[in-house]
């Protein structure tokens, strides 16, 4: 079973939930798909055993075969190629690695090259197998790195995915193929607005989902009212608590110091397992 931990709004506690949950479940995989700002390792402190560069395909143009016909640039939907009478210009940050230019070139002047845009690291801590991806600073496209992270999933063991915030393509890429999605939110107007966006996304993707309210006690009751009205299961509430905030700020997963939460996280996981069936 693959369980994604997502949220519309950033900073609501996705990583907190993903890491604490993983720590309560025995043998499990934890994959950090927030490759723009990966944080789960800061709380788990895993030993990294392997590093794999993430390479995306880019066109290599053989200037001798190229007749500057411009068909590649005309085909490219992302404007990553421009052709003048003298030369072909390639803009790597716009390329989606679709391979279309190489197919369309009538002179076989385009072959596939590679460019590194990030790294995937694999390791572990006790019974937890850990994988995360790191997008190189200055690179725009997170999805290829996320896709490489997800290729590391061992299908025989349950996996928890820490997902980036928002509802964009990087989030879809992360959540895709999950059996369940936990949405972490906070009980504030911003939290509610972004929760609704995330729920709409998951409904469209037909992924079962439930909500964990973090910092319960701040704000107002509208998140809970919304969940009631929409029939969305409220899986757990984590109170607004100074001790939890202090542990978080120092990079400590709170179940390690507040073992009373272990049972609650395990119960949440049992509920999810039952629902997924």
């Amino acid at each position: 079973m693959i369980t994604a931990v997502a949220s519309g709004k950033g900073g609501t506690g996705k990583t907190t939930v993903a890491v604490n949950l993983a720590l309560c479940l025995g043998e499990i995989q934890l994959l950090d798909c927030d490759v723009e700002e990966p944080n789960a390792h800061l709380f788990l402190n895993p030993v990294i055993e392997e590093k794999k560069p993430v390479e995306v395909l880019i066109p290599l143009i053989n200037e001798e075969l190229c007749v500057r016909c411009g068909k590649c640039a005309e085909f490219c939907q992302y404007n990553a190629l421009a052709v003048t009478k003298e030369l072909v210009m390639f803009f790597p940050e716009l390329c989606h690695s679709c391979g279309g230019c190489a197919i369309v070139c009538p002179n076989n002047a385009i072959s596939e090259g590679k460019r590194t845009t990030g790294v995937v690291e694999v390791g572990g801590k006790d019974k937890i197998r850990f994988v995360h991806g790191i997008l190189e600073v200055g690179e725009a496209m997170a999805s290829p790195v996320i896709s490489e992270v997800k290729k590391q999933i061992n299908k025989d063991v349950d996996a928890i995915l820490d997902v980036p915030p928002g509802t964009s393509c990087a989030v879809i890429e992360s959540v895709r193929d999950s059996d369940y999605c936990i949405l972490v939110t906070e009980p504030t107007p911003f939290g509610l607005n972004d929760l609704k966006l995330a729920v709409n996304m998951l409904r469209e993707m037909k992924i079962p989902h439930g909500v964990i309210v973090n910092r319960a006690g701040i704000g107002d009751g509208r998140v809970q009212e919304y969940c009631d009205k929409e029939g969305i299961r409220l899986l757990m509430e984590i109170p607004h608590d100074e001790q939890i905030a202090a542990l978080y700020s120092n990079g400590i997963a709170f179940v390690e110091r507040m073992p009373e939460y272990e049972k609650k996280f395990r119960q949440v996981y049992e509920v999810i397992k039952k629902e997924v069936g």
């Binding site: 519309g8 709004k9 950033g10 900073g11 609501t12 990583t15 927030d34 723009e36 700002e37 944080n39 800061l42 709380f43 395909l57 085909f75 939907q77 992302y78 989606h96 690695s97 679709c98 391979g99 279309g100 197919i103 369309v104 997008l135 600073v137 200055g138 690179e139 725009a140 496209m141 997170a142 980036p164 915030p165 928002g166 509802t167 964009s168 393509c169 990087a170 989030v171 879809i172 895709r176 906070e186 504030t188 107007p189 911003f190 607005n193 972004d194 966006l197 709409n200 996304m201 469209e204 993707m205 701040i218 704000g219 107002d220 905030a245 202090a246 978080y248 700020s249 120092n250 990079g251």
Partner: protein, 284 residues
């Protein structure tokens, strides 16, 4: 015309709360909400929409089941794994058109789709340009660029000389698009291990694109050691600290009332005013 982009790397550090406070304080400005896949500024500013436009970006493939001979070419060439059982998954399709190119019987067509909307609005704090990006759409960077262009047009039309941009978390596509050509990046961080880690990555991005940056430490008193670490980091990297804001429940209370912290008042609003003065002085 000056442009300030408010960023954070890590989500939830207080970008939008700060931008809405600046909205109450700054004069002669246009506001641009560039967190297009989880926009929140409108919840405080209650915009009255005066112009609304569809945003079209990439096309999506569709396969005509009548013409399709199930030869498998499209599946073989699709690098996005977007075709299964000769149906296109629009959430996975990135609109590259390779399937249309390789289909031997012309069964694939590429169709325009609406990927979101842009809005130009009036608010009690001046004009706001904002947008929504439909879930899973690819072109967040393009939409951010469009929002910024519209904000610039509004500023020129109305003779305004400042654009304040609310950015998105992360360091990827929409963040880069909200940053390029800005006069200042104000990075809002918090004294936590994640806040510091993400600060270093977003500073890497501002340096990569050679954008001047300033840091604002929000909730500085939740971990004073980490606040000192952030200040030392800023000192080593020649990044001015625009101010330190204490943790305050007033931010949430203001949000619940759809007010900026400046409109809500209280002690912390005075500190936020000080941050704005620092930021404003640094671009003048």
């Amino acid at each position: 015309m000056k442009q300030i982009t408010v960023l954070s790397g890590k989500g939830g550090t207080g970008k939008t709360s700060l931008v809405s406070a600046f909205a109450s304080l700054a004069k002669n400005k246009v506001l641009a909400d560039c967190d297009v896949d989880a926009a929140d500024l409108h919840l405080i500013l209650k915009p009255e929409i005066i112009e609304e436009n569809d945003f079209r970006a990439l096309k999506t493939a569709s396969i005509d089941g009548e013409k399709c001979t199930r030869c498998g070419e499209c599946v073989k060439y699709c690098v996005f794994d977007a075709i299964s059982d000769y149906l296109v998954n629009p959430l996975a399709c990135e609109g590259c058109a390779v399937c249309e190119l390789v289909c031997p019987v012309d069964a694939v067509s590429m169709n325009e789709k609406n990927a979101g909307k842009t809005f130009i609005s009036n608010t009690r704090c001046g004009p706001l340009v904002h947008a929504i990006l439909y879930a899973g759409e690819e072109a967040s960077g393009k939409l951010v660029a469009l929002v910024r262009k519209k904000a610039k047009d509004v500023a020129q039309d109305k003779g305004l000389d400042l654009i304040i941009i609310d950015g998105s978390p992360g360091i990827g596509c929409p963040v880069i698009a909200s940053l390029s050509g800005a006069d200042l990046a104000l990075i809002v961080t918090e004294p936590t291990i994640s806040g510091l880690h993400d600060l270093e990555r977003i500073v890497g991005v501002t340096e990569f694109f050679k954008i001047k940056s300033m840091v604002c430490i929000n909730k500085y008193n939740i971990n004073r050691e980490k606040t000192i670490e952030i200040k030392k980091y800023c000192l080593r990297n020649n990044i001015p600290v625009a101010g330190e804001i204490p943790y305050s429940g007033d931010f949430t209370k203001a949000m619940v009332q759809a007010k900026s912290i400046v409109e809500y008042g209280g002690d912390v609003s005075q500190i936020v005013k000080g941050v704005w003065d620092e930021v404003n002085n640094s671009i003048r």
